[in-house]
Amino acid sequence: MTALRKLLNLIRDSLLNMLRHPLVSVASLTTVTLMLVLLGAFTTISLLANHSARVIAQQPPVEVWCSNELKPEESAAIEAYLEGDPNVLSWKRLTPLENYELLRAGMGESAKALDSFPFEKLQYTFQVRLVNPEEVDAFTAQIRAYPGVQNVDVAERTMRTLNSIVRVVNTATLIAFAIMCIVSLFIISNMVRISVLARSEEIAIMKYVGATKLYIRTPYVLEGALIGTAGALLAFAAIYFTYDKLYTSMVGRVVGDAQSSPFTASNMMLPLSSIAWRVLVINLALGILIGAAGSALSVRRHIQV
């Protein structure tokens, strides 16, 4: 009962602290919100960059070259595998005739040279797009094992370049994210330090009347967490409405040269529902963590008995 009463007192104190020092509270909240808006915007940009890199990386298909005498059951086995592999985004089978037509189309005016070319000598191929292009090696190893498969053309250089772009984006995201977190923690911790300094006399009195470190620290940590939560929600709201507007105005606009191009805004941008929950979770987790940790760090020096 006593412990519950103490906890309720602490929660009440943390709320009262915020009201007793409204300017410091507003300053802390503003800082947390701005930092989390920046973090949220960065999260959104990195999610979009990752998504876009992946969309681009998925474009050059992996070509599976098979025998020109591919038997129907061999073709069926390959098709079944492609259908069942979760890493296969889409696939398309091309017959020797279809490959012949493609070849002719690619040669333009010189296509006449192929008039007498026996298209039967061309191979069956499968054009495959992967969900995770970086896992192409595993895919190649699997598909090579099927009868009738002669070669797998990965367009390796393109694939490697795109893979390394995705890796760079991911690494840059992580580094920037860590830097932003440290900067946020530093700024919020300084804001809380100002708040603690404004109340250092109060803390000194608490120590003299016999308050434990935990009792002194808890309201500040709760207050930091509350400010972090409020800041996270405000930042989320700002990002949500901004992205919503941006998405609505961008989707449908052609980025490439045709409406059917994969490089349209609807392909390159993630839908709001997919972005929103991630930003909300990251903002809340960071807001609460940074608010509470920043407060705990700032108050630590002042509560030494």
Binding site: I205, V209, G210, A211, T212
Partner: protein
């Protein structure tokens, strides 16, 4: 019982000793003045008693508890048994009088009902029941110090430490604050007052522990502030006169006049006491002792 055993303490390794081999004992229920110039080491004694500082050598005991070996985690629990009164009152300006006092009980997790009852009682004792909703900046210095004393007393501590409690108050208010501390002492609480208020020490005639340059130079019961005051008292009528007219303003005024060379030691102290009694209806001696 509080016991200092050969306590030495410095604030930094190379700094001079703030306390140098100090030993004394204070019995439970005593009223003690710790006097000395600024920087003499009297506040260091307070800091050592509340474990804000630790001695370099020696032992400090409260009953059987050795403060020099007390774990930091237990310090808050020690402080709950010590009431602290400060020169600058140290009230929380954003809280009401009631909340400032209640705050010390909330830390212990007491029930709201108990807090309400106890705080009201303590505020009545210090004469501030009617002002419980006021904020510190609406109170006079004396009233603020009474709130400070109420906060120090609300958890019924066994010891009250007052560091220059009248330092920011006028003489009349100081007198009422000291009367309140004495009343608390008469209820069984050990009261230790650090001060350099010479007049107050002389009026109250309590045990005096004098610290100079970190050393204990005098420990005397029913003592005056200094040896000089003892001499002046002799000139103004002697110890017997002081006992008979204890706290007489005229007597101390005469002592001050003699000290300043403005008067010769001719007026008997008894007459000063009689004049005071005629003017006020009672002497300070009556005020402090006979009314109890």
């Amino acid at each position: 019982m509080i016991r200092f055993e050969n306590v030495s303490m410095s604030y930094a390794p190379e700094a001079p000793l703030a306390l140098n081999d100090v030993s004394f004992e204070i019995e439970e229920g005593e009223f003690v003045f710790i006097i000395g110039q600024s920087g003499s080491g009297k506040s260091t004694i307070v800091k050592l008693l509340t474990c804000e500082e630790r001695p370099n050598s020696g032992r400090i005991l409260i009953d059987d508890l050795d403060l020099t070996r007390l774990r930091p985690g237990l310090v808050p629990y020690l402080r709950r048994s010590i009431g602290m009164v400060f020169q600058d009152f140290r009230l929380i300006p954003t809280m009401t009088v009631f909340d400032n006092v209640a705050f010390a009980m909330e830390i212990l997790g007491e029930s709201n009902r108990h807090i309400r009852r106890q705080v009201s009682m303590v505020l009545s004792t210090v004469g501030l029941r009617a002002r419980e909703k006021a904020r510190p900046d609406e109170l006079s210095g004396g009233e603020q110090q009474r709130v400070g004393i109420a906060r120090a007393m609300v958890n019924n501590p066994g010891m009250l430490l007052a560091d220059e409690p009248t330092g920011n108050l006028d003489p009349a208010t100081s007198e009422s604050i000291m009367a309140l501390l004495e009343e608390i002492n008469h209820n069984g609480t050990t009261v230790i007052v650090c001060t350099h208020d010479q007049e107050m020490v002389n009026r109250m005639q309590k045990r005096v522990i004098e610290i100079a340059d970190g050393r204990l130079v005098r420990d005397a019961h029913r003592a005056l502030y200094s040896d000089l005051d003892n001499n002046l008292l002799d000139l103004a009528g002697g110890r017997q006169a002081l006992d008979e007219t204890f706290g007489s303003e005229e007597l101390f005024a005469e002592m001050a006049a003699i000290r300043n060379g403005e008067a010769s030691p001719s007026q008997p102290a008894e007459e000063a006491g009689a004049a005071e009694k005629e003017r006020r209806g009672f002497t300070s001696y009556d005020f402090y002792y006979k009314r109890r």
